[in-house]
Symmetry: C2
Subunit: 199 residues, 2 copies
């Protein structure tokens, strides 16, 4: 399949890239500052330009999402706006604008995360964004068939424990290779409206 | 208790008002065009002005949330923005700005809805908004203690079946009086971080 992979330069994106390419897929990498195509999907107009350039694809996979981390009491309305644009609307626009551009039984795979269900201190914007994306995925799935849409919702990556492990005391981490398999499951499988929780 | 009730003029708000007042609480009603105080909470500055005027309260209860309904393919980025401002950021700001203003063990009760978990066609913005609020509630709860926060997440109201029943085929409705009891449970009880699902 020809797969558009957004956020390909990140830790997760690189693992997904490697896994999908290893299975024989043609992966078009997208990043803000690197990749086959440059795009900041927080800007809906940039997403439109991306789809214009790339032409038809069989699947769209996102590993991109930026949200601020602060105590609720230190958040500003702009912080929540930023989380909404950086992880929610950005991914919704990948889907909405992609509806008319991907293959007949093409799929969208979005990224959320464990904070939708299991919060951590300073993570309220991330929780908000992840919960928004997961409920959107369930809702979009029943409208866009036979196109498909799923979300991958991992806990902390084993490979990120050194940086973020302190925020997830006692929480079992997940290997990036396992998370990448959830993308495979979404892209190559037949399911839709699923939240692949990895914890 | 002195309770600030936002969205008091709506069907749900009126039921919550009646129930809370019937239990001896002093309810300050807030609406965009009616009520003891006028405020459009979609504007964070208006929420700040509301809290300035109202002084200390024991609880904040919201029954206010506006989202557009359309097929995903007809939504615009502005529609999702509108849902975010009308139901998500509006309620987050009630909490965030209220932290320094409500009583020591005061509570916030927000409104979400069944579409967070059980979608309907044309409801993707509502699902997105409800999922966002529910995950925010779980996240905020672990930070703001001993202040409390819960969400009430009802299915279609029995009293709204004539208008909206066709959108919820086979879904058991819930009486407004029952939904109002969930607000009582949140305001007078001791729980936090709960999503009171009513279906």
């Amino acid at each position: 399949m020809k797969i558009l992979l957004i956020g390909a330069a990140g830790k997760l994106g690189a693992a997904v890239h490697k896994t999908l390419a290893g299975r024989g897929h043609e992966v078009l990498t997208v990043g803000r500052t690197s990749g086959d195509l440059r795009c900041d999907i927080a800007d809906p107009a940039a997403t439109a330009a991306l789809y214009e350039r790339v032409g038809p694809v069989d699947a769209v996979a996102s590993a991109a999402g930026d949200v601020p981390y602060k105590p609720v009491s230190e958040m500003t309305p702009q912080d929540y706006e930023s989380a909404f644009h950086g992880k929610v609307l950005s991914q919704i626009e990948l889907v909405r604008q992609g509806l008319s551009r991907i293959a007949e039984r093409g799929s969208f795979t979005l990224i959320t995360g464990v904070l939708a269900r299991d919060p951590i201190p300073t993570g309220s914007a991330a929780s908000m964004a992840n919960g928004a994306v997961e409920s959107f995925v369930r809702a979009a799935a029943i409208e866009i068939a036979p196109l498909r849409i799923n979300a991958v919702s991992p806990t902390v990556f084993t490979e990120s424990l050194a940086d973020y492990g302190d925020f997830f005391p006692g929480v079992p981490p997940v290997d990036l290779a396992q998370v990448a398999q959830a993308y495979v499951r979404s892209v190559e499988g037949g399911q839709t409206g699923q939240i692949y929780g990895l914890s």
